[in-house]
């Protein structure tokens, strides 16, 4: 169930991410739910507190309480910054202290339009052609896809740690940490 993306947009983002971080013998963006990370970022203010900064100090994955899922409250300036970054300045004077700011929501809505409503059903080569034709937008989505593939699962992507598992990265390890032998040995 998408938070901010429409069903059609959700399918396109999912198809884009599948081209950017494909599935092969290991899980890719599709299995890791990268689209949900991106949808969660675009819709961060649908939650209270907004899903901007996961909590701390521990996730519970190697001990301690699982506090990452309790997102931080934002102060007034942080909320202003992140609303401006995500929603855009929309002509609101309090968001335009240095002029208008395009928001991620607008960037995605327009970028997905350019990729075409039929993107998800196009062939792989055609999908790649459209992605290469829109390099700036593709770069932006790819950056988010990397965050969603290899960031903490509490942000919506990296489902079950699939992104970490296939590259042999253990993710957050507090409070367990690593032993001196693990640090100094091969």
């Amino acid at each position: 169930m998408a938070v901010w993306l429409t069903d059609g947009q959700y399918r396109i983002v999912q198809a884009v991410c599948a081209r950017l971080i494909p599935t092969d013998q290991d899980p890719g963006a599709t299995e890791a739910g990268v689209v949900d990370y991106i949808d969660g970022l675009l819709g961060a203010f649908s939650f209270d507190p907004p899903r901007i900064w996961a909590g701390g100090p521990f996730s519970g994955r190697t001990g301690g309480d699982g506090a990452f899922a309790s997102f931080h409250r934002l102060g007034p300036l942080d909320e202003l910054a992140w609303r401006t970054r995500i929603e855009g300045s929309r002509g609101l004077p309090e968001r335009e202290w240095n002029g208008p700011v395009r928001g991620l929501q607008e960037i995605y809505a327009e970028g997905l339009d350019r990729l075409g409503a039929d993107f998800a059903d196009a062939g792989g080569d055609e999908q790649d052609r459209r992605l290469r034709a829109d390099e700036e937008f593709t770069r932006q989505v790819y950056g988010h896809a990397c965050e969603g593939m290899y960031g903490a699962p509490e942000y919506g992507g990296n489902r079950a740690g699939l992104g970490w598992a296939y590259i042999g990265f253990e993710g957050d390890v507090q409070p367990r940490g690593y032993s001196d032998e693990e640090v100094s040995g091969p």
Partner: protein, 549 residues
């Protein structure tokens, strides 16, 4: 004299401001610490409790500006020189964390001392054309007791005697070194074969329980991350002591916009708290510890007119030499940097000859850190998208195999390198943003060009299949990123050529005292933290008997 709110207002809660708060409250002063960033470090209601906000979270710390400043809220601007026009870049310019504790929580805690000649560069090495090389008004011997005290207060792990180039010490480090990282053992061995002298990095990270804080458990989320278990000797130690006296108040999310000055004396500050309302607070002294870039900004916003304010801005010219080692070095296990060497800090006959060939009387490099990148989002963003992505991530040429050196190249002071106020870009509060005008001197570029290939050779000795060198700031990315900033309110005896006197007091407004690396006349090839803390211990100790102003 009218009643004052506090004996001192301290602007900034980083290593300098926290040290000032500690020294002054111990001497009976009442202080308020204003910090523009948020508080993720300590419970102000019960300072024995440390915050739980830090975490092993690459998104939160590396991408979403958790420690601040958010470049959208507080943009800085950059140009290489005046002929570039008003600016060529708006956004992040060498940002250091803006949070309670300042740069402390984000740093990985390497805290070397400077050497004796770092305090007398002009008399030891001589002038360089285009640079304002100067002696410090104090020597290493003046600062040694404060260095020792600083190491004890913040808790430093290291091995006395391991670095043959180190200045004399009055005693051992408070803690032994922590466990060496695997990659650093490989490059240390190669460095020794090249005749260099790697040693355990002096590190403000607990190797054993210290000061009621636990030993580091090597989680690997060190540089740029706050420590979830508070094993880092960030300013939490000094801030906690200051708060526990009951004479210190900490006010986060509070931006000081102006020091109020009347008849050559500061009377207090104007500030805006979390509610955005402008207010004032009065005090007998104002301690400015906002960092090498925000400190000159505040002095300029206050209308102070000394022509040297903001000038002689120094960073480090960082020379990264990286290569692919055949083994997996797992740079994500350990405390970011465990080994360094100082051989390039000390000119020798060969480097002096190379300097002369480059048209310079001499050059110095800097401390060399042995390290590699550690985190997967960073690696992924540099990997290709498409069919090659997964293979690139599985092979992990960067996160698992890339290892090498970062030389913190000494940056010579130049009056034309400066911080001033941008003519039109504003922060979210409507206050002028700071603007950096900066280009490296031939000195640091020549040193980088000389030492870079030597480090590449060493990496091949260590087994690297290939190695490459990248110096920053460079032609492709002129915006500095060293996080080391100094020199913008330099101290000296001559009021015409320095902003502050040898005790950190503004020549023009002596009850305003600078307590950060803005004071440094020269920058050395070492990170600034321990030296600025030692200076604050010395200068605040001298100020403490003069509470009345």
């Amino acid at each position: 004299m009218t009643a004052r709110d506090f004996d001192a207002i301290i602007v900034g809660s980083g290593p300098g401001g926290s040290t000032a708060a500690d020294v002054l409250t111990a001497a009976g002063w009442s202080v308020v610490v204003f910090e523009k960033g948020r508080n993720h470090l300590i419970d102000t209601g019960d300072p024995t409790r440390l915050s739980t906000d830090f975490s092993n979270d690459e998104i939160k710390f590396m991408i979403r500006h958790f420690l601040g400043p958010d470049p959208l809220l507080e943009p800085r601007t950059f140009r290489r020189e005046e002929s570039d026009g008003d600016r060529t870049h708006v956004g992040e310019v060498n940002n250091v964390a803006s949070t309670v504790g300042g740069g402390g929580p984000h740093a990985d805690g390497k805290v070397p001392r400077f050497r004796e000649d770092d305090f007398r560069m002009l008399s030891e090495w001589g002038p360089v054309e285009g640079a304002s090389v100067a002696d410090w008004p104090i020597g290493y011997e003046d600062l040694e007791p404060a260095y020792a005290e600083a190491e004890r207060l913040i808790g430093v792990a290291g091995e006395a005697g391991a670095n043959p180039f180190a200045a004399p010490r009055s005693g051992p480090y408070p803690m032994p070194p922590g466990p060496p990282m695997y990659g650093a053992l490989i490059t240390s061995d190669a460095a020794e074969r090249h005749g260099w002298h790697p040693y355990p990095a002096p590190t403000a990270v607990n190797s054993v329980p210290y000061d009621d804080r636990p030993a580091c458990n090597n989680c690997g989320f060190c540089a740029f991350f706050g420590c979830p278990i508070h094993a880092k000797g960030d300013p939490v130690a000094s801030l906690r002591r200051a708060l526990l006296t009951g004479r210190a108040e900490l006010r986060p999310e509070t931006f000081v916009s102006r020091i109020m000055v009347r008849d050559g004396r500061a009377t207090g500050v104007e500030y805006r708290g979390p509610d955005g309302q402008a207010r004032t607070e009065t005090a007998g002294h104002v301690i400015v510890a906002a960092g090498g870039m925000e400190t000159p900004r505040l002095l300029l916003l206050s209308g102070l007119e000394h022509p040297m304010i903001g000038r002689n801005l120094m960073f480090h010219l960082q020379t990264y030499v990286m290569g692919a080692l055949p083994v997996r070095v797992h740079g994500h296990k350990g405390r970011s940097v465990t080994h360094v060497h100082d051989d390039f800090v000390v000119p020798d006959a060969a480097s002096l000859a190379a300097a002369r060939e480059a048209g310079l009387p001499w050059f110095k490099g800097g401390m060399v850190e042995h390290a590699g990148p550690a985190h997967p989002i960073l690696e992924a963003k540099l990997a290709p998208w498409g069919p090659g992505h997964k293979d690139a991530m599985r092979r992990s040429q960067m996160r698992e195999h890339l290892w090498g050196f970062c030389m913190q190249g000494e940056d010579l002071p130049q009056p034309s390198n400066r911080v001033d106020l941008d003519p039109s870009v504003r922060d979210v509060r409507g206050v002028p943003a700071l603007r950096v005008t900066y280009r490296p001197h031939a000195h640091e570029q020549a040193a980088s060009a000389y030492y870079g290939p030597m480090m590449e050779d060493c990496l091949r000795t260590a087994g690297a299949e290939w190695a490459l060198t990248y110096a920053a700031p460079g032609a492709f990315d002129p915006v500095p990123m060293s996080r080391h900033v100094a020199g913008t309110a330099r101290m000296g005896t001559d009021p015409a050529h320095s902003v502050c006197d040898p005790w950190g007091r503004l020549h023009d407004v002596p009850n305003v005292v600078v307590a950060d690396s803005s004071l440094f006349p020269t920058g050395a090839g070492y990170g600034p933290t321990l030296t600025l803390v030692a200076l604050a211990i010395r200068n605040m100790g001298a100020l403490a008997p003069h509470r009345g102003g």
